[in-house]
C-alpha cells in the first residue's frame, strides 16, 4: 500500500519518550518499515519544547517534525503540558501529535483529546503488537492523509 510518489523526502518524526526500552522498540519497529523516516528522540517534556523552539545549541538545527509521538508520563514537563504548549503555539499547532502511552485511564484519554491530540494509542503488550501499531501509524499518517505543507 506504499505509494512512494507521495514521499519526496524523509519523514521527520519526533519521539518524546523517557523509557529507553520503548525508544528501542519504536526504532526497531520503524526499521521494519519501508519508508525512510528520520526519527529524533528527546527524553523529557522540557527537551521537547527546546527541540521545537530550536533552543539550545543542541537543537539549533532541529528540523520541523511532520509528526510527534508523545508519551504522557514524562520527567520535568508532562505529556499533557507539552501537548497544550504545542497546540497553543501558532506555528506548532498544525503538527499532528499522537499520544503513545501505557496509560489506559479514561481521564488521560479525555484530557488528551480535549487538548487537540490527533490520536491516542495505548502501547500494546508484546513486540508484534507494537510493530503493528507503528505500521498503522505509518500507513495512516504518511501515506493516507495529506499533511500540512512545510
Amino acid at each position: 500500500m506504499i505509494n512512494s510518489s507521495t514521499i519526496s523526502r524523509d519523514m521527520e518524526v519526533l519521539l518524546v519518550e523517557d523509557n529507553l526500552g520503548d525508544v528501542e522498540l519504536t526504532k526497531l519497529a520503524l526499521e521494519e518499515s519501508q519508508l525512510s523516516i528520520n526519527l529524533s528522540v528527546v527524553g523529557d517534556g522540557a527537551a521537547a519544547m527546546d527541540f521545537l523552539h530550536h533552543q539550545k545549541n543542541k537543537y539549533a538545527n532541529a528540523l520541523y517534525p511532520d509528526l510527534i509521538l508523545l508519551d504522557l508520563n514524562l520527567p520535568k514537563k508532562s505529556g499533557h503540558e507539552v501537548l497544550a504548549a504545542i497546540k497553543t503555539d501558532e506555528f506548532l499547532r498544525r503538527i499532528p501529535v499522537i499520544i503513545l502511552t501505557t496509560s489506559q485511564a479514561e481521564e488521560d484519554i479525555l484530557k488528551a483529546y480535549n487538548l487537540y491530540a490527533s490520536g491516542y494509542i495505548s502501547k500494546p503488550a508484546g513486540f508484534d503488537q507494537f510493530v503493528k501499531v507503528v505500521q498503522s501509524i505509518e500507513d495512516f499518517w504518511f501515506t493516507t492523509v495529506k499533511l500540512p505543507p512545510v
Partner: protein, 792 residues
C-alpha cells in the same frame, strides 16, 4: 350692756379669746384633724365623725371651724372649714396625708401686747380676709384663739346700744376725757360698721331698707341706690321667710341665726344667717337692725362634709374606729359587709374575732408597731361571722383626740381575696415555671436590656450554671465581658446584639470556650418586649450538643479520610494503569522480540520457556486491568441519569451477539423499568451477569436466560436466571469476592473479577446483589435498584 361704758378700742381681747383652742400635732393625719374639728369632745365620748347623720347639726354648736397645727407650742398652720371642703373635693385620701401637708401656712398671728385690743384683731382679720386669728406671746407661743364670729358677738351689744341711744345722752353720763374717747370711738365705730366684713342694714316698719353698709352691698352685688329705698322683700328668694321675720320683729321678738336665701344682683342665691332685733322708741317701732352673715360657703362646706361622710359610709374600703382596748367603736357599711356582720352587731366586738386565728400573732405584731409608729400596713387572713376565710389588707392608724391623746385607732380594710387568689395562682404558676427552670437539662438564661441597650445578665438557671461553670451569683448584674472576660464576653454580646437587631428570635449553634472547658450548644435567643414595644430582656435557651457536634466533626473527619483514601485509590489506579504496566510491557515486548529474532537459534525448550514467560506477563497484565476496572467502579465520573434498562439489555445483547450465536443461547426479558443510574456501569452489570450465564452453561443444554423484574417496597428486584451448571450452596458468598474462582482457567477462563465488579456496581447504586443456585439446576442472580430517583 356690759360694755356700754367702756371705750370701744379698749374692748379687750380677753373677752373673746379662747384659751383652749383646738390644736393638733403636725404628724397627725388630716382625717384625724378633721375628726377633731367636728368632734372636739370625742376623746372620751363616742365619736360620730364618720357616719353620724347629725354632723351638720352639731357643726354650728359643738364644733370648731378650725384646727390649729402646733409645733413646740407655736402655731405653724391652720385648717379651716373652707379647707375641709377643698380637701374633700380634691379626692386625697385623708387618712394617708399628714395635716402638715395640707394645712394653710404661714399663719397670721397677733402678738398680744398691752395696747392691742379687739379692734386691732378685727382689722387684722379683715385685712387678710381670714376668720381666725391665733394670739401669741412675744416668743410666738400660742396663748389662745380669736375668731371673727366671737369678735362680732363682742361688738353686737355695743352696736345695739349705740344705735338706740343718742351720743349726747352718753356724753352727759361720762366725763370729758371719756367724751373725747367716746367721740374717737364713735368715729372708729362708724368706720368699723361701715366697713365691717359683716353685712348690716336697717329696715323701716314698712319693710323699706333705709340703710345698709358696704359689706351688705358687696355681699349681694348691688349699688347703694339699687338697694337702699327698696323693699327688703324684693331681695328675699323665699317670701314666706321674710314675712315670718318681719312678723316676729314687729311683735318684738329677736331673730337669731335665721337662715334665709337672698337674691343677688347676678341672680345667684346666697344662704345667709340673719340676726335681727327691733328698735323701739317710746313703745313705737322705729326700725329693725339686721346682721346678714353669708354662710353660703359654710353651708356648702357642710354639704360637702355630709357628702364626704356619706362617701366614707359607703366607701368600698372598710373603715372602722377601734378603742384602746381593741373593741370596735364605729364601723362603716363596707367594713361590716366584708366581715359579714351588721354595723350595730359589731360595736363593742373584739378585733380578734375578725382575724384568722393563725394570723393573730402577725396582726398583733402590726398593732404594736402602730402603737409605736402611728401607722402600719399588714396583710392577713380575715374571719367572717360565718367562719369563712378571706384575705384582707389592713392599714391601722392611731386616732387622737384634740389633746393629742390616743383614743384607739382607725382601721382601713380591703378585701383582697380576689387579688390573693390571683396571687396564689400566679405563685403556683411561678413555682411550676421555676421547677422547670430549675430542673430542666436545658440551659435557660436571662439578659436584661437597659434602655441605653446595655446588656447585663439577670439570671442563669442551674443548667446554665453547670454549662458555664459559674454560679448565678457570679454573673448576676454583670455584662458579658465582666462575666466571661473581654474576648469571650464580646463574642457572646455579639450574638445578643444580633438578636436585638433582628428584633426576633434567632437560633444558632455556637462553640462556647469557657476558660475551663469547651462545649457546643444550640442556642435560641428570644427578645421580650414591654408595653412600649421596646425590648427589655432576652431569654436564652441552650442545649448542649457537644456530643452531636463531636460526632459530626468525627464524621466530617472520616469523610475527609474517605475522600483522601478515594483519592489515593485513584492514584493507585493510575499507577497501576501506567507505571505497573510499563515494566510488564517491557518484559512481554522484549520476550517477543527475542522469540522473533532468535527463534530456531535456541532449542525447543527455550522457545517453551519464552512462551510461558510471555503468557505469565500477559495474564499479569489482564489482572492489573481487571483490578483497575474494579477500582474504577467507585470513582466513575459519569453522571447518573434516568436509564431505560430495556435499552441497556438490548445493547448488551448486541455486544454479546457473537457468544450468544455461538452458544445458541435463548435470552428473554420482561418489560424493564427506568432507573436512575450510571449507564455505563449498568451496562457492565447486565453484560457481566448475562455473559456469566452464557459462560457457565451445561455442556449439552443451550443456555436459556431470562431477565425479570418486579417492584417491591420502593425497589426494583431484577433477576437474571439461567439453566447453567449452578453451584454448591457453600460457594454462594465466595463468588462475589474479587479474584475468587470456582473453576479452573482451562474449563472457564477469567480472572474472577466479574461478579465482584457487579456487586460493587449494585451497592454503589443503593442495592443488593445475591444469588440462588443449585448444582446443575442453574443460578438466579437477584439485584435491587431504588425506584426513586436521586444520587447517592
Amino acid at each position: 350692756m356690759l360694755f356700754m361704758n367702756q371705750p370701744i378700742d379698749r374692748l379687750s381681747l380677753e373677752q373673746v379669746i379662747d384659751r383652749t383652742p383646738l390644736t393638733i400635732k403636725p404628724d397627725a393625719t388630716a382625717l384625724s384633724a378633721i375628726t377633731f374639728m367636728y368632734q372636739p369632745n370625742s376623746s372620751h365620748d363616742v365619736p360620730t365623725v364618720i357616719e353620724s347623720p347629725a354632723i351638720s347639726e352639731q357643726l354650728s354648736r359643738n364644733s370648731y371651724s378650725y384646727i390649729l397645727v402646733l409645733e413646740k407650742s407655736k402655731p405653724i398652720g391652720i385648717l379651716t372649714e373652707h379647707d375641709v371642703v377643698r380637701l374633700t373635693i380634691s379626692g386625697i385620701n385623708l387618712a394617708d396625708v399628714n395635716i402638715s401637708e395640707v394645712m394653710i401656712q404661714p399663719i397670721i398671728t397677733l402678738s398680744q401686747t398691752n395696747d392691742q385690743g379687739a379692734l386691732t384683731a378685727l382689722s387684722l382679720l379683715r385685712q387678710h380676709h381670714i376668720g381666725h386669728l391665733p394670739i401669741v406671746d412675744e416668743q410666738g407661743l400660742l396663748l389662745g384663739m380669736v375668731t371673727e364670729r366671737d369678735l362680732l358677738q363682742l361688738f353686737d351689744p355695743l352696736l345695739a346700744t349705740i344705735s338706740s341711744q343718742s351720743a349726747e345722752q352718753q356724753i352727759t353720763a361720762i366725763d370729758h376725757q371719756q367724751h373725747e374717747l367716746l367721740r374717737q370711738s364713735q368715729q372708729d365705730l362708724t368706720d368699723f360698721v361701715e366697713n365691717a366684713i359683716i353685712g348690716l342694714h336697717w329696715v323701716a316698719a314698712d319693710g323699706t331698707i333705709i340703710w345698709a353698709n358696704q359689706a351688705e352691698l358687696d355681699l349681694l352685688g348691688y349699688t347703694r341706690e339699687e338697694y337702699i329705698g327698696h323693699s327688703i322683700t324684693e331681695f328675699h328668694a323665699d317670701q314666706d321667710t321674710i314675712t315670718d321675720i318681719l312678723q316676729r320683729l314687729l311683735s318684738g321678738q329677736v331673730v337669731q341665726n335665721y337662715e334665709a336665701d337672698l337674691r343677688c344682683k347676678d341672680g345667684s342665691i346666697r344662704r345667709v344667717l340673719i340676726d335681727s332685733n327691733s328698735s323701739w322708741r317710746d313703745g313705737e317701732f322705729v326700725r329693725t337692725r339686721c346682721f346678714t352673715r353669708d354662710i353660703t360657703d359654710q353651708k356648702r362646706a357642710e354639704e360637702d362634709l355630709e357628702r364626704f361622710n356619706q362617701a366614707l359610709s359607703h366607701a368600698m374600703e372598710g373603715i372602722a374606729l377601734l378603742d384602746q382596748q381593741g373593741k370596735y367603736v364605729q364601723i362603716n357599711h363596707a367594713y361590716a359587709n366584708i366581715v359579714g356582720y351588721t354595723t350595730e352587731s359589731m360595736e363593742g366586738m373584739d378585733w380578734q374575732l375578725t382575724v384568722h386565728p393563725e394570723d393573730l400573732p402577725q396582726v398583733q405584731l402590726a398593732y404594736e408597731h402602730m402603737l409605736e409608729h402611728g401607722k402600719v400596713e399588714v396583710s392577713a387572713r380575715g374571719l367572717r361571722r360565718d367562719g369563712s376565710i378571706f384575705y384582707k389588707q389592713l392599714v391601722m392608724v392611731t386616732a387622737y383626740d384634740n389633746k393629742q391623746q390616743s383614743i384607739g385607732h382607725y382601721c382601713f380594710m380591703k378585701d383582697i381575696t380576689d387579688h390573693k387568689q390571683v396571687e396564689i395562682q400566679l405563685r403556683q404558676q411561678e413555682e411550676f415555671l421555676k421547677s422547670i427552670y430549675d430542673g430542666t437539662e436545658q440551659a435557660i438564661f436571662v439578659v436584661d436590656v437597659n434602655p441605653d441597650k446595655e446588656l447585663r445578665y439577670a439570671s442563669f438557671n442551674p443548667a446554665s450554671e453547670k454549662y458555664a461553670g459559674v454560679t448565678n451569683a457570679q454573673i448576676q448584674g454583670k455584662t458579658p465581658e465582666e462575666a466571661f472576660g473581654e474576648v469571650f464576653g464580646f463574642t457572646l454580646r455579639q450574638n445578643y446584639e444580633r438578636s436585638l437587631q433582628a428584633s426576633t428570635s434567632i437560633t444558632y449553634e455556637e462553640q462556647l470556650d469557657f476558660s475551663t472547658h469547651i462545649i457546643w450548644t444550640l442556642t435560641t435567643l428570644v427578645p421580650l418586649r414591654n408595653e412600649q414595644n421596646q425590648i427589655y430582656r432576652i431569654i436564652g435557651t441552650a442545649t448542649d450538643i457537644t456530643d452531636r457536634k463531636q460526632a459530626e466533626l468525627e464524621l466530617q473527619s472520616q469523610k475527609q479520610d474517605l475522600a483522601r483514601s478515594n483519592a489515593e485509590l485513584q492514584q493507585f489506579a493510575y499507577v497501576a494503569s501506567h507505571d505497573l504496566q510499563e515494566p510488564l510491557r517491557m518484559i512481554t515486548s522484549y520476550l517477543e522480540l527475542l522469540e522473533r529474532r532468535y527463534k530456531g537459534q535456541l532449542d525447543e525448550r527455550a522457545d517453551k520457556f519464552i512462551a510461558y514467560a510471555v503468557d505469565g506477563a500477559t495474564r499479569m497484565q489482564t489482572l492489573i486491568n481487571d483490578l483497575l476496572s474494579y477500582s474504577r467502579v467507585g470513582t466513575s465520573t459519569q453522571d447518573w441519569k434516568s436509564v431505560d434498562c430495556e435499552k441497556i439489555v438490548q445493547n448488551v445483547l448486541i455486544n454479546l451477539h457473537l457468544s450468544i450465536v455461538q452458544s445458541h443461547a435463548v435470552i428473554t426479558y420482561d418489560a424493564l423499568p427506568k432507573v436512575n443510574a450510571d449507564p455505563s456501569q449498568l451496562t457492565q452489570l447486565f453484560q457481566n451477569l448475562i455473559s456469566n450465564a452464557i459462560k457457565f452453561r451445561r455442556e449439552k443444554a443451550a443456555p436459556q436466560i431470562h431477565i425479570g423484574v418486579e417492584g417491591t417496597d420502593g425497589h426494583w428486584l431484577f433477576s437474571v436466571q439461567d439453566n447453567g451448571i449452578g453451584m454448591e450452596v457453600q460457594y454462594l458468598e465466595r463468588i462475589f469476592i474479587i479474584f475468587q474462582r470456582l473453576h479452573s482457567k482451562i474449563e472457564y477462563p477469567g480472572t474472577g473479577i466479574g461478579l465482584a465488579v457487579c456487586k460493587k456496581i449494585v451497592e454503589r447504586h443503593g442495592g443488593d446483589l445475591r444469588v440462588e443456585s443449585q448444582p446443575d439446576h442453574g443460578s438466579t442472580f437477584y439485584f435491587t435498584m431504588p425506584q426513586t430517583t436521586g444520587n447517592l
